[in-house]
C-alpha cells in the first residue's frame, strides 16, 4: 500500500497562534520545541541524528523526504534529539541499496512525532519573516485547549542543551596508524568529525563537555577539537572558563559550530541569536585569506559577532557571503582556529574538509616544537 490515504491527523501550533493541520507519521503525542527549517535537499538522516538540533522541531523545505530510507551507516549520533519533524511528503517505498528502514519507522522507534502534508513553504516563509519561534507538534486536536497550549509554547526555552547531549565518559577511538592524539570535547558531536580526524591518522579521545582542563592536559593531546552542539553558547559558563584555560596550553585547537562560538566567548567576544539561523547544505562562505568562496553545510541559530573580537588577539577568517556574518575566526594570541560551518559535512558538501588538514599540520608543528 503505497498511497498514504488513511493517516491520522496531526497539528503544528506556532507561538503566534497559527495552526497547520496535516497528517501524522512517526510517534503520537505532543511535543514542544523551537521550530526551525533546513534547506538541505539530501541528508535528512544526518539532520535527524545531529545533536545540534536538540530541543528543535525541524522542518524540511525539500518536499520529498525519506526517498532513500534510513541506513545504519549514516547516523551522526546514536540517537535523535529533535522535538519533532515536519515534511511535506514522506516516502513509504524508499529505494536505495543501503536502505534498511523507512523514516516513519525510524521516528517511531525514537518516539519522535512527525507531521506531513502541510504547506511547508508557507511555514518556512513564516519563520523567515517572524524569526524562529516556538511551537508544538501534536496528534491531539489543539482547538479545545489552544490558549493553554500557547502559554506553554511561549514559555518554552531550550535549556541544559549541552548537558543533555554530551556523553558521560571518555571513549577512545584508534585508527590503524595513529600519528596524533586529539581530545574531542563532546558538546553533542557529530560522528563525522571524529571520522574526519581518524581518516587523517588521529587517535580520538571523546570526552564529556565538562571535562576539566587538567584532565585534558593529562591526556597529553596533540590537538583539541571543540565539537558542534546545541543551544545558546552563553548558557555554558563553566565550559567557557575551561576553554580559556585550555587555550593557554599552546595545544592546537580547532572548533566547529558551537565549539567556534564557545571559543569566541572564552576569548572575550560576544554571540548573538540570528533571526532564523543558517540551516542547509548551500551556505556560501568566503575564506578571507584566499578570497575563495566555498559552499558549506550549516546548522546554527547563534553566531559570533565579528566586531566583538579583540583585533589584537583574533581576526575574522571567514564570512557568510549572503549576510556577512562571522563564519570563522583565527586567533593570534593562542593556537586556535574555529569555523561556524561544518567542514566534516554529512550531510552537505565536502568542499571545506581541507580545514582538518590545517588542523593536522598545526598538530605536526606543535609536536615538532615540543
Amino acid at each position: 500500500m503505497a498511497l498514504i490515504k488513511d493517516a491520522a491527523p496531526a497539528w503544528l501550533v506556532l507561538a503566534d497562534g497559527q495552526v497547520f493541520r496535516g497528517k501524522r507519521f512517526g510517534d503520537a503525542g505532543t511535543s514542544i520545541g523551537e521550530v526551525v527549517f533546513t534547506t538541505g535537499m539530501t541528508g535528512y538522516q544526518e539532520t535527524l541524528t545531529d545533536p545540534s538540533y536538540y530541543g528543535q522541531i525541524v522542518t524540511q523545505t525539500f518536499p520529498l523526504i525519506g526517498n532513500y530510507g534510513v541506513n545504519s551507516e549514516d547516523f551522526e549520533s546514536a540517537s535523535s534529539h529533535v522535538k519533532g519533524y515536519i515534511v511535506r511528503e514522506w516516502c513509504n517505498t524508499p529505494s536505495n541499496f543501503r536502505c534498511e528502514d523507512t523514516i516513519d519507522s525510524f521516528l517511531r522507534q525514537r518516539h519522535i512525532i512527525g507531521l506531513w502534508g502541510i504547506d511547508t513553504r508557507r511555514l518556512t516563509r513564516t519563520l523567515r519573516e517572524a524569526g524562529v519561534m516556538n511551537g508544538v507538534i501534536t496528534t491531539l486536536d489543539p482547538a479545545e485547549h489552544l490558549e493553554a497550549l500557547l502559554e506553554e509554547i511561549r514559555a518554552y526555552a531550550v535549556t541544559q542543551a549541552v548537558e543533555s547531549v554530551t556523553g558521560s565518559e571518555v571513549h577512545t577511538f584508534t585508527p590503524e596508524q595513529a600519528r596524533y592524539r586529539v581530545v574531542l570535547l563532546d558538546f553533542g558531536y557529530k560522528r563525522y568529525i571524529r571520522k574526519s580526524l581518524m581518516n587523517r591518522g588521529c587517535e580520538v579521545l571523546v570526552v564529556p563537555a565538562l571535562t576539566s582542563p587538567q584532565e585534558i592536559a593529562a591526556m597529553q593531546p596533540d590537538g583539541i577539537m571543540l565539537s558542534n552542539g546545541p543551544g545558546d553558547p552563553a548558557d555554558n559558563p563553566q565550559i567557557i572558563r575551561n576553554l580559556r584555560e585550555l587555550s593557554g596550553l599552546g595545544i592546537p585547537m580547532f572548533g566547529i559550530c558551537l565549539g567556534h562560538q564557545l571559543m569566541a566567548l572564552a576569548m572575550g567576544a560576544k554571540t548573538e541569536k540570528l533571526k532564523y539561523g543558517h540551516r542547509g547544505a548551500n551556505q556560501p562562505v568566503i575564506d578571507l585569506q584566499s578570497g575563495k568562496t566555498y559552499v558549506t553545510s550549516q546548522n546554527h541559530g547563534y553566531a559570533v559577532i565579528g566586531d566583538s573580537l579583540d583585533p589584537d588577539t583574533a581576526e575574522v577568517s571567514h564570512v557568510n557571503a549572503n549576510d556577512g556574518t562571522c563564519e570563522g575566526v583565527r586567533y593570534k594570541s593562542v593556537n586556535a582556529f574555529t569555523v561556524q560551518f561544518h567542514p566534516e559535512a554529512h550531510g552537505g558538501p565536502l568542499d571545506t574538509a581541507y580545514l582538518f588538514d590545517e588542523f593536522t599540520s598545526r598538530m605536526a608543528s606543535y609536536k615538532e616544537g615540543k
Binding site: M1, A2, L3, K5, F37, T39, G40, M41, T42, G43, Q45, E46, T61, F62, P63, L64, N67, Y68, N71, E73, D74, R88, E89, C91, T93, P94, S95, N96, F97, R98, D119, T120, R121, R122, T124, R125, R128, E129, G280, A281, N282, Q283, P284, I286, G291, K292, T293, V295, A321, N322, A345, H346, G347, G348, P349, L350, D351
Partner: protein, 1064 residues
C-alpha cells in the same frame, strides 16, 4: 576582478538551425549572453544562420549576420567587424567547434582576437576521448573501460577484450550522432563504420556498456578565481543507455542518499577544476545502483540543453552568469538576480521537484524506428514543476500535447499483456513510461518491471501511487478528501470526473508558488511561478504587493518544440511581451518549454511555468485577473485555447474567437470564401473510408487528405488511388483522432505564402513569399523566397486583393497567414491561419518591418495608418532572402526523406543576397549542402517527372557531372541525348544503386517516387543510404533545378557579400 581589460567588442557565435540535439536552448543561452554583454556596455556582433531566433533580433546585438556558420564566413565577419574577443561557449557544439578551429589555426591570434569562455586545451581535454580519459585518470575519477579507435578492426579487437555489449561513440558529433550499442560483432562493424565516417576526426570510442546504472547529471560553474559551485543535480528516469535528451529527467536527483550525492558533486567540482573551465559545465555520471561505484560518462564544457533545463528548474541563470565569467567577473561579484541580495556564488535549494519530458516527432514519422538509445531523437521537451513527483509527472504529460491527460494510453491498455511486455522488453521506446504504467495497472509487479527495465523502484512506486489513487477515485463516493488528494496528485477536474464516474464535489483552483532559488530562505522577488494545490497563493500576494496600476495581459506560449511548431512562435511570443511592456501593460507569460527565451523569468513581468490546458489556464486567469489575453502568437497550442477562454468571458485581444473558428472550421471557411469570391481547390469533408473513396473518385486523383484541425501538416498525404485513401483512413482512425477528414483536389502549382497584419480596416503585407517546390511539399519544408520571383503583376495583385478580402472578412486584428497556390495562372486559397506563423521572424528581419510589434499595437486599437503604414503590399527591399529548411534525418532511422505534404524539417536557415542566386547559394550552404562542383549525380524519378528531368540533367551534364540512373530513367535521358550510365535497381542484384551510393562516386542524388514511407521500398532505401553517406539528396525536381542553377552561376561563398541585417 570585474570586466577584463581590452574587451569592447565581442563576437558571439550562435548554434545555427534547429536540429535534433541542438535546439532552442541555444537561442535562450545566446540571447542571455547578448543581453549580459550589452548590459556591460559592450558592442556585440552576432553570427547565426537561424532567422527564427530571438538572438538574431535587432534588440539583441549591434551587428547581426544571418550567414552560414562556416569557418570561412566567421573569418570574414571577424575581418569586417574586427571584434577584440569571441565568445565560444554559448552557441552549442557548432559555436564551440568553430571557435576552436579559429583558435587552433592561429586565426584569432593573428587578428588579435581573444577567445572567451573556454581555451582550446580545456576543450581538447573534455572532447578528445583519449585526452579526457587521461585527464580523469590523473585526478582519480573513474571512467568506463573504453578505447579510442580509428579503424573498425581495432574496434572489434577491443570489444573482444571488454566483451559485448559495447557502446560506440563517435568523437565530435552532435547529440551522439552515429553512435549506438552493439551486441555482437556484426552490429559493431555496422555502427563503427558509420560512426567513423561521421566523426570529423574519424575517431570513435568503444566503451563497455553499463546499461542499467543510474544516470546522474550535475550542472557546475567555475570562475577564474577557482570558485566552484553546482547549480543543480538531475536524475534520469531511464537508466544509462538512453540519451539524456530522450530521457524523462527529474531534478534534483531523488534516489541518492547524501553520501552518494556528495560523492558525485565532489567529483563534478574536481573535474571542472582540473579542466579549468571558466563558465558552465555539464558532468554526466553513471552510478551503480547497488554500490558506491560510479563512472564519469561525459563532460560538456559549455552551456547545453541540460544547463537550460537546470536554469529553468532552479531560477539560476547559468548562461548569463557564464557570460559574465567569460568576460572576467567572478561568482562572488555577480549578484543573484532572484534574491537581489545574495551572490551567484551559492547553490540553489529547491522546495519542489521538476520533471522534464521529451517531445518526439513519431506522430509524424509513422515508420520511424521508435527505439531510444545513444542517439537523441526528441525534437523538444516540456518541463513541469510540482510539489510531488506525481503532480509534476501529470503536468508534464499534459504539457507534451500527446492527446492524453493522464498516464493512460489507450493502445497499451488494450494491447494483450504479452505484446505489451514485449514492447517493454525489446528495447526502450519513446512511450516507455506509458507502457510501464499500463503494465503496472495490469498487475505486473514493481519488482518484475524493475528487473526488465532497470528503472529505479522509486519511480515505479510513484507510478503505482497514481494507479492506486485512480482506483480510490473509482471506488465509492467521490469525497472531498479524494478530490483534494487527486488535485494534489496533479489531476484535472475532467480527469477526476472521468475516472470516478462522478461529478466533482467541489472545485479547487490552483495556487501559485514562487521559484526563488533558495527554498524560501530569503525574500525573493522573482516573478516566476508554478501551480500547486496549497493554501497560500504567492502569486496573488506578489501581484498585490507590486501593483503598478497597469493593465495585465496574458500571453500564451507555444509549448514544446516539435516539427511544425518551433522556435518561431517563441520569437513571436517574446516580441509581443516586449511590446506590451513598452505600451505600459504588465505582460504575463504562460508556457512550459524550458528551452526558450519566453520562459526566462525576466522576459515578461511574470512567468507561469505550467501546462496550457483549459483548466490550468483558468487558474492562472483567476489569480491574474488580466485585462485580456493574447493567443495569436503561441501557435496552434495557444489558438486551441481560444474557444474555451471566450466561453469563459475572457477578453481575447485581436481577432475574435468566432473569426478564428471561421478560419478553422471547414464549412464556415468555405462559406466565407464563397462570400469573398475566392476560389479554393475543390474539396469535401468525410468521416469514413467509404465516404472518402467516393469523394476522391468524384474529385479525381491525386487528392490531398488531412484531418480538419491541422498542425504542421500532421497526418497529411497525397493519395493517388483508392488504396492510398483506405490506408490513410486506417492510420487516422488508429490515432484516435476524432476530427473529420478533409479531401481536396490536389493542384500541383506554385505555392505562395503571405503574412499580413491587419487592424480591421487596413492591411499590410510585408512581403510575398514564393516557394521553390510546387504545392504538395509542405510549406515548412519548401525553400521560400522573398520577394516572389516569378509572379506576374496580375497574379500578384490578385494575391493582394484576396488577402485584403480575407483579412477584412475575418475581421483580423493582428496577424494572419495565408497560403495560396497558383495553378494554371489562377490563384486559389489553400489555408488561412488567423495567427502568427513560421515565416514571421524571417520576413520581419529581411523587410525590417517589426511585424509582431505592430500586430501587438493593433490589438490595443492602434491603426496601421497611425503607425505610418499604407494599406497593401510594402515596397520590396534591395535584398532577396531565401529560407532553406533543415532536416534531422540522420538522427531518425527508417524515416523516408522524400518531401511531401507532411512537414519533416526541424529548423531553417536564411540566405540573404543581392540576387536570388546569391541568396539561395548562402541558404544552401547555411543548411549544410556541400555544393560540390564535380562528381556523380544519381537520378531516379517517377515517370511523370522524367520529362522535366531532361532540362535539369542537362544542366548537371554540361557542368561536367557524371550522370547515373536506373534503367527506365537512364534510357529516357539517353534517348534525349543526355549521356547517362545505367545502374541496377536493388532487386536486380549487385552492383546496384546502393553499391553506387556506397562507392563514394555520387555527390548528388535526385530521387522521387510515387509513394514513399514504407522503409522497405527501393526508393526509400536509396534515400536512407544517401543520408547515411551524407550524400546531398534532392527529393523534388524543383529543388534539384534550383540547386543546378546555383551551381551553374559559378559563384561561391567567397564571391558573395556578407550582410549586417541591422543595416536593412
Amino acid at each position: 576582478m570585474g570586466l577584463r581589460s581590452g574587451i569592447k567588442k565581442v563576437l558571439v557565435i550562435g548554434s545555427g538551425p534547429i536540429i535534433i540535439g541542438q535546439a532552442a536552448e541555444f537561442d535562450y543561452a545566446g540571447a542571455q549572453a547578448c543581453r549580459a554583454l550589452k548590459q556591460e556596455g559592450l558592442e556585440v556582433v552576432l553570427i547565426n544562420s537561424n532567422p527564427a531566433t530571438i538572438m538574431t533580433d535587432k534588440a539583441m546585438a549591434d551587428h547581426i549576420y544571418i550567414e552560414p556558420l562556416t569557418l570561412d564566413t566567421v573569418k570574414r565577419v571577424i575581418e569586417i567587424e574586427k571584434p577584440d574577443s569571441v565568445l565560444s561557449t554559448l552557441g552549442g557544439q557548432t559555436g564551440l567547434t568553430l571557435s576552436m578551429q579559429l583558435a587552433e589555426e592561429g586565426f584569432l591570434d593573428s587578428h588579435h582576437v581573444k577567445l572567451l569562455g573556454a581555451d582550446p586545451e580545456t576543450i581538447h581535454k573534455a572532447e578528445d576521448r583519449q585526452a579526457f580519459k587521461d585527464t580523469m585518470e590523473k585526478i582519480g575519477e573513474p571512467c568506463i573501460p573504453s578505447k579510442v579507435v580509428e579503424t573498425v578492426e581495432d574496434a572489434v579487437a577491443f570489444a573482444r577484450v571488454i566483451d559485448y555489449p559495447v557502446i560506440v561513440r563517435p568523437a565530435f558529433t552532435l547529440g551522439g550522432t552515429g553512435g549506438g550499442i552493439a551486441y555482437d560483432e556484426a552490429q559493431l562493424r555496422d555502427i563503427a563504420t558509420n560512426g567513423l565516417r561521421l566523426s570529423p576526426i574519424t575517431q570513435v570510442l568503444i566503451e563497455k556498456c553499463i546499461s542499467g546504472w543510474k544516470e546522474i547529471e550535475f550542472e557546475v560553474i567555475r570562475d577564474s578565481k577557482g570558485n566552484v559551485i553546482t547549480v543543480c543535480s538531475m536524475e534520469n528516469f531511464d537508466p544509462v543507455g538512453v540519451h539524456t535528451g530522450d530521457s524523462i529527467v527529474i531534478a534534483p536527483a531523488v534516489t541518492l542518499s547524501d553520501r552518494e550525492y556528495q560523492m558525485l558533486r565532489t567529483a563534478s567540482l574536481n573535474i571542472i577544476s582540473e579542466l579549468k573551465v571558466e563558465g558552465g559545465c555539464n558532468c554526466q555520471f553513471a552510478l551503480h545502483p547497488e554500490s558506491m561505484e560510479y563512472a564519469v560518462i561525459e563532460v560538456n564544457p559549455r552551456v547545453s540543453r541540460s544547463s537550460a533545463l537546470a536554469s529553468k528548474a532552479t531560477g539560476y541563470p547559468i548562461a548569463k552568469v557564464a557570460t559574465r565569467i567569460a568576460i572576467g567577473y567572478t561568482l562572488d561579484e555577480i549578484i543573484n538576480q532572484v534574491t537581489g541580495k545574495t551572490y551567484a556564488c551559492f547553490e540553489p535549494a529547491l522546495d519542489y521537484v521538476v520533471i522534464k519530458f521529451p517531445k518526439w516527432a513519431f506522430d509524424k514519422f509513422v515508420y520511424a524506428k521508435r527505439t531510444l538509445g545513444t542517439q537523441m531523437k526528441a525534437t523538444g521537451e516540456v518541463m513541469a514543476i510540482g510539489t510531488s513527483f506525481e503532480q509534476a509527472m501529470m503536468k508534464a504529460v499534459r504539457s507534451t500535447e500527446l492527446g492524453v491527460d493522464s498516464m493512460h494510453m489507450k493502445k497499451y491498455e488494450e494491447m494483450p499483456l504479452e505484446e505489451l511486455m514485449a514492447h517493454i522488453r525489446d528495447g526502450v521506446e519513446d512511450e516507455r513510461a506509458f507502457q510501464v504504467f499500463a503494465a503496472l495497472g495490469r498487475g505486473v509487479s514493481v519488482a518484475q518491471l524493475h528487473e526488465i527495465t532497470l528503472i529505479d523502484e522509486w519511480f515505479l512506486e510513484k507510478l503505482v501511487n497514481l494507479i492506486e489513487l485512480e482506483r480510490w477515485l473509482a471506488d465509492g463516493e467521490l469525497t472531498q478528501e479524494k478530490y483534494l488528494t487527486a488535485k494534489q496528485y496533479g489531476y484535472l477536474d475532467t480527469t477526476i470526473e472521468r475516472m470516478s464516474g462522478q461529478k466533482c464535489p467541489m472545485h479547487r483552483s490552483a495556487v501559485f508558488k514562487m521559484v526563488d532559488t533558495c527554498a524560501g530562505e530569503f525574500k525573493a522577488e522573482t516573478p516566476y511561478f508554478y501551480s500547486t494545490y496549497d493554501e497560500e497563493n504567492e502569486a496573488e500576494q506578489f501581484i498585490a504587493r507590486t501593483d503598478s496600476g497597469k493593465k495585465k495581459v496574458l500571453v500564451f506560449g507555444s509549448g514544446p518544440i516539435r516539427i511544425g511548431q518551433g522556435i518561431e512562435f517563441d520569437y513571436c511570443s517574446v516580441h509581443c511581451v516586449w511590446t506590451l511592456k513598452e505600451l505600459g501593460y504588465e505582460a504575463v507569460i504562460c508556457n512550459n518549454n524550458p528551452e526558450t527565451v519566453s520562459t526566462d523569468f525576466d522576459t515578461g513581468d511574470r512567468l507561469y511555468f505550467d501546462p496550457l490546458t483549459p483548466e490550468d489556464v483558468d487558474s492562472i486567469i483567476e489569480t491574474e485577473k488580466p485585462y485580456g489575453v493574447v493567443v495569436q502568437f503561441g501557435g496552434q497550442t495557444a489558438i486551441k485555447l481560444t474557444r474555451h477562454l471566450a466561453d469563459k468571458g475572457v477578453r481575447i485581444l485581436g481577432t475574435s474567437a468566432d473569426n478564428i473558428d471561421a478560419a478553422e472550421d471547414r464549412e464556415r471557411f468555405d462559406e466565407l470564401l464563397e462570400q469573398c469570391g475566392i476560389p479554393r481547390p475543390q474539396g469535401y469533408t468525410v468521416m469514413t473510408a467509404k465516404e472518402a473513396v467516393k469523394v476522391a473518385d468524384k474529385l479525381g486523383y491525386p487528392v490531398l487528405l488531412r484531418p480538419s484541425y491541422v498542425l504542421g501538416g500532421q497526418n497529411m498525404i497525397i493519395a493517388h488511388n483508392d488504396q492510398d485513401v483506405v490506408e490513410y483512413m486506417g492510420i487516422i482512425t488508429s490515432h484516435m483522432i476524432e476530427n473529420p477528414v478533409l479531401i481536396d483536389k490536389y493542384m500541383m502549382g506554385t505555392e505562395v505564402e503571405v503574412d499580413a497584419i491587419c487592424d480591421g480596416k487596413d492591411f499590410l503585407i510585408p512581403g510575398i513569399m514564393e516557394h521553390i517546390e510546387r504545392a504538395g511539399v509542405h510549406s515548412g519544408d519548401s525553400i521560400s523566397v522573398y520577394p516572389a520571383q516569378n509572379l506576374s503583376k496580375r497574379i500578384r495583385e490578385t494575391i493582394i486583393e484576396y488577402t485584403r478580402r480575407l483579412a477584412l472578412a475575418l475581421e483580423v486584428v493582428g496577424l494572419v497567414n495565408i497560403q495560396y497556390v497558383v495553378y494554371r495562372d489562377e490563384v486559389y486559397v489553400i489555408e488561412v491561419n488567423p495567427r502568427s506563423s513560421r515565416t514571421v521572424p524571417y520576413i520581419s528581419k529581411v523587410t525590417g518591418i517589426p511585424m509582431v510589434d505592430i500586430a501587438t499595437k493593433l490589438l490595443f486599437g492602434a491603426t496601421l495608418r497611425e503607425l505610418g503604414y499604407e494599406s497593401g503590399l510594402y515596397p520590396e527591399g534591395d535584398y532577396v532572402a531565401v529560407k532553406v529548411p533543415v532536416f534531422s534525418f540522420e538522427k531518425l532511422q527508417d524515416v523516408d526523406t522524400m518531401l511531401g505534404p507532411e512537414m519533416k524539417s526541424t529548423g531553417e536557415c536564411l540566405g540573404i543576397g543581392r540576387t536570388f542566386e546569391d541568396a539561395l547559394l548562402k541558404g544552401l550552404v547555411a543548411a549544410g549542402y556541400d555544393l560540390k562542383r564535380e562528381g556523380g549525380v544519381l537520378i531516379s524519378v517517377r515517370d511523370s517527372e522524367k520529362r522535366e528531368m531532361i532540362r535539369i540533367a542537362d544542366k548537371f551534364s554540361r557542368m561536367g557531372f557524371e550522370l547515373y540512373a536506373t534503367s527506365g530513367t537512364a534510357s529516357y535521358l539517353n534517348r534525349n541525348m543526355i549521356a547517362t550510365n545505367t545502374v541496377r535497381k536493388i532487386s536486380e542484384g549487385s552492383p546496384n544503386t546502393i553499391d553506387l551510393l556506397e562507392s563514394g562516386k555520387i555527390h548528388y542524388m535526385i530521387s522521387t517516387s510515387a509513394k514513399g514511407r514504407m522503409p522497405a521500398r527501393d526508393s526509400v532505401r536509396m534515400r536512407r543510404k544517401s543520408v547515411e553517406r551524407s550524400i546531398c539528396s534532392l527529393t523534388a525536381v524543383d529543388t534539384a533545378n534550383a540547386l543546378a542553377n546555383v551551381l551553374q552561376s559559378g559563384r561561391s561563398m567567397d564571391d558573395v557579400e556578407l550582410i549586417d541585417i541591422t543595416t536593412i
